[in-house]
């Protein structure tokens, strides 16, 4: 199977072309089969290739398809590179991707806003899977960058999927522009890397990385971090992700939870060799992760839209991954990426079922009492939340998060600080998760649900439930051997016990608070409490600051420069040319004999010139 690796990205691409060229003329059933089937087949091929790869015991496998271009010494090839890291990513993308596609065949069926858009939806989704696979399987940074921009494009297209509402178009543009900031940094980083090492091939570059002086390595590391921060919605480029929830829920699950937003984690993990040489850049990675982690967990506590809660939770979980990479818990970070893909996809899909059953109601305060009426989504949400909160021993999230926190504690630079931040965020995570579950699923019913989900919707939920629970043991059993030791600490360690127990406090605090058994209204209602709540709800006012700092001045400059001073030069040129044209057109009488006479006059002049020479 390994030699068929190229099929993994090729199948979704073929699906995209099939849907793209038929321009939505195919019947919906065939569209669903092509859309989900292409990713499903890719998942099967990836599974076969993965098993063969693991059995072969090789460190890596690469497959060169063709040379992209050849310019002097620069000849990047389109080639696929499979190693444990890209294998994990490929498995997540195709496996979780297939489950989400399957769910989407139910969720997007006869969609109320875009009933004609099924073909377009699956075309974009398939293109996204292709681009994401090229990102993780690419052998050189140019292919990686191609995939990187490709997923950005698909993200833009899918956030703005419900394009009839201008708000959604705005959200899509915001996502595109904000990530563009990061992408520009990353491109500069790649240019620097190419200038220094004269190659963009990842393995060659990492092998030669020792030639970099430490300042240059730090610069490249920081620039690549900039790209990762933009793509993974970390501080300070995180503002686009909550708005990106404007897209359909399967999109949020696939792109803005499971795969694309973890591309930044992948990039940093892939370029580990550079960060090893640049401790300052690596420390920056950890700081970015920690800050995002804290900011987004506090924000999630105050949100009311279920998808926005999950979006902020995604940001914080990716913050954990960044922190893990920063403090050297490399394999734990990738492990958390995988488990997070499972349980966050599960949470999004389950919330998608709820939203669909409530006719697109997303406000948790308008839900309530759903646990009896929507048992499958409730059970899925419960399991997903358990994994998010990291309930000890039974959930996958516990194993990965615990490994990160314990490694952070042992980190030589301010390890305790990172540990404390991580645990604090874990408590907050438990608190906001409990709040979401309690408010949405318990208490009195406020909106009557109409559960119409079928096997193609609850099937993926069940599979993801199993993965959210069993993923931890899968990780310990398989990833440990592939990626290197994940957790070098015993769970009996006193620090480990604290780490394990503290998040549970969040649940035990949260339950009575949000059930209304502890009255905090005086605290929350006070002036300070209210201000704090509004500050957190606005996402720590980042949007407000960016609006004042960048958007307003830019709009002001644009308004002042309405006449476009720079363009004046060209407009004058055009006006002069037009004037000359009008003069020249006077000679254009359309009379043949007039032209002949002019030619005769010209002949006289030419003959005189020739004769006098």
């Amino acid at each position: 199977m390994l030699e068929y690796l190229w099929l993994v990205p090729a199948l979704p691409l073929a699906g995209f072309f099939a849907l793209f060229v038929t321009e939505g003329k195919l019947p919906d059933k065939i569209v669903a089969v092509i859309g989900a089937g292409s990713v499903g087949l890719a998942a099967l091929v990836a599974l076969g290739a993965g098993i063969e790869f693991v059995q072969s015991g090789e460190a890596s496998y690469s497959q060169t398809l063709w040379t992209w271009m050849a310019v002097g010494n620069f000849a990047p090839s389109i080639s696929l590179y499979l190693d444990p890291l890209s294998l994990v990513m490929t498995g997540v993308i195709t496996g979780v991707g297939f489950l989400i596609h399957l769910f989407a065949t139910g969720y997007m069926w006869k969609d109320h806003q875009e009933p004609e858009g099924l073909s377009r939806f699956f075309a974009y989704m398939n293109l996204f899977v292709f681009a994401m696979l090229m990102l993780v399987l690419g052998d050189n940074l140019l292919v990686l960058f191609l995939g990187w921009e490709g997923v950005g494009l698909c993200s833009y297209l899918l956030i703005g999927f419900y394009h009839r509402d201008p708000e959604n178009g705005y959200a899509a543009r915001k996502a595109f522009v904000v990530t563009r900031v990061g992408d520009t940094l990353m491109a500069i980083g790649l240019f620097l890397l190419f200038r220094e090492l004269a190659t963009l091939d990842i393995q060659t570059a990492l092998g030669d990385a020792a030639q970099l002086d430490s300042g240059m390595a730090t610069a490249i590391g920081l620039l690549l971090l900039g790209g990762a921060v933009g793509k993974s919605a970390q501080v300070p480029l995180q503002t686009w992700l909550p708005d990106a929830m404007a897209g359909p829920t399967p999109v949020s699950a696939l792109i803005h939870a499971a795969t694309m937003v973890t591309a930044g984690v992948y990039l940093i993990a892939r370029m580990k060799g550079i960060y090893d040489l640049a401790p300052a850049a690596q420390f920056a990675v950890a700081i970015v992760g920690l800050v995002t982690l804290l900011i987004s967990s506090f924000t999630a506590l105050t949100q009311t839209d279920i998808k926005r809660i999950l979006a902020y939770s995604t940001m914080s979980q990716i913050g954990y991954m960044f922190m893990a990479l920063g403090v050297g818990a490399w394999s734990a970070g990738i492990f958390h990426l995988m488990t997070h893909a499972f349980f966050k996809a599960l949470l999004f899909l389950a919330s998608g079922s709820v939203i669909l059953a409530l006719h697109h109601e997303q406000d948790i305060f308008k839900m309530g009492g759903l646990w009896r009426k929507l048992p499958v989504p409730f059970a899925s949400m419960l399991i997903g939340s358990g994994a998010l909160v990291a309930l000890p021993f039974i959930t996958s999230g516990f194993y990965s998060k615990d490994a990160i926190l314990l490694t952070a504690h042992g980190y030589e630079h301010h390890g305790g600080l990172f540990w404390f931040g991580g645990v604090l965020a874990a408590v907050m995570t438990a608190l906001y998760t409990t709040r979401m579950m309690v408010v949405a699923f318990f208490g009195e019913t406020k909106t009557e649900p109409h559960d119409s989900s079928r096997i193609n919707m609850w099937g993926p939920l069940v599979v993801l439930c199993v993965l959210s629970i069993g993923g931890g043991w899968l990780g310990i059993g398989v990833l440990d051997g592939l990626l290197g030791p994940i957790n070098e600490f015993s769970h009996a360690h006193p620090m480990a016990l604290t780490t394990m127990i503290l998040p549970l406090i969040g649940i035990f605090l949260g339950w009575p608070i949000f059930r209304g058994q502890i009255d905090l209204s005086r605290l929350v209602g006070s002036t300070f409490g209210d201000a704090l709540r509004r500050f957190w709800q606005s996402g720590w006012a980042f949007d407000w600051v960016y609006d004042r700092l960048f958007v307003k001045p830019f709009v002001w400059v644009a308004r002042v420069n309405k006449g476009d001073a720079v363009d004046l030069v060209f407009r004058i040129t055009a006006a002069v040319t037009r004037g000359l044209h009008h003069i020249g057109a006077l000679t254009q009488t359309g009379r043949l004999r007039w032209y002949a006479a002019n030619m005769a006059i010209g002949l006289i002049v030419v003959v005189l010139i020739v004769a006098s020479a």
Binding site: G584, A585, L586, T587, Q588, T589, G590, R591, L592, R593, A596, A597, A600
Partner: protein
């Protein structure tokens, strides 16, 4: 066999023929006459080539004349087709009637 005359004489005759043709092009409004004048002009150019060829006793002049001949034949075939179209469309042979390309 052939005669010996100053080339200037032949060229003068060629120039005179050319200018008579040009005069016809400038004066006549009837497109048929205009085309005949054009034929005269091309013929005079051929005469100039033949004169040059005769000066050196080389065949190149005649070859250029043959190329001019091919050009004239092609021109006349297309132009007479245009004459038919113009006479149908404008119901006149006045060349100034077809002045739609003015600027």
């Amino acid at each position: 066999m052939a005669i010996e005359v100053p080339v200037e004489h032949v060229l003068l005759v060629a120039a005179a023929l050319f200018l008579l043709g040009l005069l016809g092009v400038l004066v006549r409004r009837n497109i048929i006459f205009l085309l005949m004048s054009l034929e005269v002009m091309m013929n005079s150019a051929g005469l100039a080539f033949i004169a040059a060829g005769a000066k050196w006793g080389a065949p190149d002049g005649q070859i250029m004349f043959m190329l001019i001949l091919a050009l004239a034949a092609a021109e006349v075939a297309v132009a007479l087709g245009l004459v038919l179209q113009i006479s149908r469309r404008f119901d006149t042979l006045d060349v100034d009637a077809a002045s739609e390309l003015n600027g």
